[in-house]
Amino acid sequence: MDIVTLVQQLVNGLSLGSLYALIAIGYTMVYGILRLINFAHGDLIMVSAYVAVMGVGLFSWPWPVAFGLAVVLTGLLGVMLERGAYRPLRRAPRISLLISAIAASFFLENLFLVLAGGRPKPFPTPPWFAGVLKWGGVFIPRLSLLIPVVTAVLLAALFLLIQRTQVGRAMRAVAHDLETVSLMGVNVDRIISLAFLLGSLLAGAGGLLWAMKYPQVNPFMGIMPGLKAFIAAVLGGIGNLAGAVVGGLLLGLLEIMIVAFFPAWAGYRDAVAFGLLIVILLVRPTGILGESLGEEKL
């Protein structure tokens, strides 16, 4: 493999990895607080993409309006999901909470199957994101460079919010010990809603970027990115925001590099992530950056 192809593949891996990171943040924030895998998180990607398709295609809004609305609606949907499907079960056995999450995920997928039909829709990528940059002998789609940049900006904003504000401190405290913090006058419900809102907003943005990278919008498009992002979160150390970013980037690079170096294995690409998950859970269940967890957190 020559250096040009290597650079191209690195950029590809980086942009895929940033998408995983963006989505993984939502999993890791919710897991950090509620110890729940929000199975429906991946479907928020799909909802965001559909809102954008409808906004641009059906109502002919300018794309910034449609995209903004898609992200906001996805954020609100995440909050509604928590209210409707998770909050009533907070004191129920864990298995019920998980089943509720899976049911919510299937409900969203099939609802959009009924509303929008099963035929994949093309995604109206704005010209601003299209095009190819030529740099030396390297051809790089502009989108592949924009995705890591957008991701970096969003994540920087999130880190500032969580590390430097009062609300962010409350959120960190709730993730550390929900019961105690609720005794100290923090409105835990509101903090949990906020965590869902932030995670879902990022998933909304991730959904738009994903749909521009793979411009086929269908009701089941969120499942694989969702599962992969979750694996990325586990790889980095679940509950740890920096870990989600590291895990996402690693998983993205790994997937792209495996296909680049061993083209014959392309069919097994989806199995790689799951194989990796099993290996991490066997060898180091806390992930790369995870604190050492007690048994009760597994």
Binding site: I95, I99, A104, G267, F274
Partner: protein
Amino acid sequence: MFLKESAIRNFWLNLGALALLALFLWGAEHFANEYQVRLLNNMAIFVTLAVSYNLVNGICGQLHLGPNAFITLGAYTAALLTLTPQQKELIFILQPLVWPLSQITLPFALALLCGGLVAALFGFITGFPVFRVRGDYLAIVTLGFGEVVRVLANNLQSLTNGPLGLKGLKPLTNLWWSWGVAAITIILIRALVNSSYGRAMMAIRDDEAAAQAIGVDTFRHLMLAYILSAFFFGVAGGLLAHLITTISPTLFTFFLTFNLLIIIVVGGLGSTTGAVLSAILFTLAGEWLRIVEEPHTLLGVTIPGIPGLRMVFFSFLLLLVIVFFRQGLLGRREFSWQSLGRFLRRFSAKVSTGHI
């Protein structure tokens, strides 16, 4: 003496129930049409699957999301063993089937057994990583194995024929096979649940640390439930393959697992009776709800069918049940002849006093 007598009575009542089932199947074989027979076969396979699934999810309390992997393994193993060498040569056009399999043809019963054993072996191997973790992680790892098996079935051309799948299987699954397997599954799993093993499994479900503290070997009990359910998933997969006669990797996605999850949650997690009832209801409801997906003409106006509406309904139902009626239909209650007797006595008392 009393216990023994009731045990003998239960044995005869069970035998009687089985005889009634046999009579019903005989009647169905002779008088039901093709569609009804197919529905009954489907029902039996779903009963087998739901009862086995309930053993791991309901009795042991571990959210296992990979039944589709075991069903795939059972279906492919059984199918490859009943096809004749000539058929296999015709099916595997891109790459020939690997050697020993390409020459073997076994009778249906042995093929089903092999399907179950291969699935159980896969259960044994995957059980070690799966039961290193609990809760959400266990769910996602088992889901991962389901995905890995699907990817393998799509890519191992010389073993599974890839995305093309296997066609032209003999329709060997009949009412006797499907309901026979269902009855054996129910009897074996009920016996297991009522034994000390079953009580240990329920102890693990209710409080794993406490169960461990009183000396329950959690790993061994969970493995036992997981491998036994894997075996029945495999056998049911073989039955399913020889009912629909064409199999491909797209048939066994997570969607199948999701249907099983709906069945056992609606029936009541932890109740074998609930799983049986719910599997039967689910199969029937799936057929009735077909109406909403097909176009209809009402008073000269054509209402278009809406494909996918059934799943919206089922997933919303699951959401409602899990959020508001967590016990489902039966909770953890089981059918027993004693409870039926009590019910009948109370009922007849009401009738005789004129309260009904």
